[in-house]
């Protein structure tokens, strides 16, 4: 119970701080953010957009890990865990895509511009979609678990290409990609964190990441437990 209350406090604080704290040219007190040239108020997206994108990839990783575990042990509980992770993953993936697209309209001028990160979140969305389409087309439980586990592992093999390679060869707008500055192609500061955030902005950013990650694990536990209970009830009703 204690951690649920603290999670509520963290997320409430992050929401208030992320939306309401003012952005000023020279911050004096702890609740003022520095002005980032070219971004202004738009910079606040980082507290909400980055955690959703982070969680959609964490969910994909967990889904793959439980798929590998399923193929090793053939325990259907692992399949339920992988399924619950993917269900949350697609929700966060859609949220990341939409928040990113709306933000891009105001900051970059268009909803979608096939920046490498946008391409990879689009591919992730397609993978999730294909994975659910595959699952719904197979009736036998074991077969469904095996085939979807194999597919999620194969799909995971393409992740390094999207995460590490595409941003390096395509011109991009996100921090970390190659970009054009003054007519020359340069590599900007690599991870998202490196860019011009000051101490309190970083603290709230990481607090938001931690809060959302705990929220994800909580939702995931409830998700897979409910799947297991549903299967149990189905089996009981068949036996009766």
């Amino acid at each position: 119970m204690f951690w649920k209350i603290s999670l509520f406090i963290i997320l409430a604080f992050v929401s208030i701080a992320g939306i309401a704290f003012p952005i000023v040219p020279v911050p004096h007190t702890w609740y003022e953010f520095p002005l980032i040239p070219g971004l202004k108020e738009n910079a606040k997206i980082i507290f909400f957009h980055v955690p959703t994108a982070w969680l959609s990839s964490i969910a994909f990783l967990m889904s793959t890990l439980y798929s590998i575990k399923y193929l090793r042990k053939k325990n259907l509980d692992d399949d339920a865990k992988s399924y619950a992770a993917a269900q949350l993953g697609i929700i966060f993936c859609i949220l990341a895509t939409i928040t990113g697209a709306v933000w891009a309209k105001f900051a970059w001028g268009s909803y979608w511009s096939w920046d490498p990160r946008q391409t990879s979140i689009f591919a992730l969305l397609l993978i999730y979609g294909a994975w659910f389409a595959l699952r719904s087309s197979i009736e036998s439980e074991e077969k469904r678990a095996t085939l979807s586990a194999v597919y999620s592992i194969i799909a995971f093999l393409t992740v390094p290409f999207f995460v590490f390679i595409m941003p390096r060869i395509m011109i991009g707008l996100h921090p970390g990609a190659e970009s054009i500055e003054g007519g020359k192609v340069v590599q900007t500061a690599s991870p998202v964190v490196n860019f011009k955030m000051n101490g309190n902005m970083l603290a709230i950013f990481f607090l938001s990441l931690i809060g959302f990650t705990i929220l994800y694990f909580w939702m995931w536990t409830i998700g897979y437990k409910s799947i297991l209970i549903k299967e149990k009830i189905n089996k009981q009703s068949i036996q009766e």
Binding site: A123, A130, A133, L157, I165, I169
Partner: protein, 221 residues
């Protein structure tokens, strides 16, 4: 193991040559796809960028219409249980992969010839680079689509599911080979394209290894 895989490949080849099920449909598909593109272009002059993209669009959809046959036909005829008896999973995968490789190569050579003949802007200035990227790209397409074909042969709604499942897996490959085709059309040398070539090579190795490891689980059920 190699002789068995080769025998399996020969079996597929003979049954294909007798019925000409895939070949006829594929050739017609290629002609239809290219003529649709030609009609929609009309008299416009299109850029090299667009041509090399459209080249791989036609290849992707032709592969999607033809390559699923390898495993789906076994399931339809009910012969997959016999295959279980005579050979190990990796042998079966090798045989099917070999057949799909040959099919992809024949199909893509036809597409390349038609493109060179029909599209004014499809001029290959660095032929060696084009051939290398073409070969690497074809191996990648064959490797990924063979394992996906094995997956969908066990699922329902096979025809519609195949491109849906394959596209995200093939996306990094297609993005890179489109770039490589563009470079070879512009006459770039190997030094300019070494990063893209390395990506395609890594993709091929990763997909081949991954599909060999995972095929056991798909095949045994």
């Amino acid at each position: 193991m190699n002789t068995k895989a080769y025998a399996l490949y020969k079996k597929d080849l003979y049954s294909e040559l007798r019925t000409r099920y895939a070949i006829n449909a594929l050739v017609m598909f290629i002609i239809v796809a290219i003529s649709v593109i030609l009609f929609s272009i009309g008299n416009e002059k299109i850029s090299q960028n667009l041509t090399s993209g459209l080249f791989w669009v036609v290849i992707f959809f032709s592969a999607m219409s033809g390559l699923a046959r390898a495993f789906v036909s076994e399931e339809e005829r009910g012969t997959s249980l016999t295959l279980h008896l005579i050979a190990a999973p990796s042998t079966i995968f090798s045989g099917k992969l070999l057949f799909n490789l040959i099919l992809v190569f024949c199909m893509n050579i036809i597409i390349a010839i038609l493109y060179a003949a029909l599209f004014d802007s499809f001029v290959i200035n660095n032929f060696a680079l084009f051939v290398v990227s073409f070969i690497l790209g074809n191996i990648g397409i064959a490797a990924s689509s063979t394992i996906i074909a094995a997956i969908i042969s066990k699922a329902g709604a096979k025809g519609t599911l195949y491109p849906v499942l394959s596209f995200p897996i093939l996306l990094p490959l297609i993005l890179t080979v489109v770039q490589l085709t563009l470079l070879s059309n512009q006459g770039a040398n190997f030094g300019d394209a070494k990063f893209e070539l390395a990506i395609v090579f890594c993709y091929d190795v990763i997909m081949l290894t991954g599909s060999y490891l995972l095929f056991d689980f798909v095949w045994k059920d």
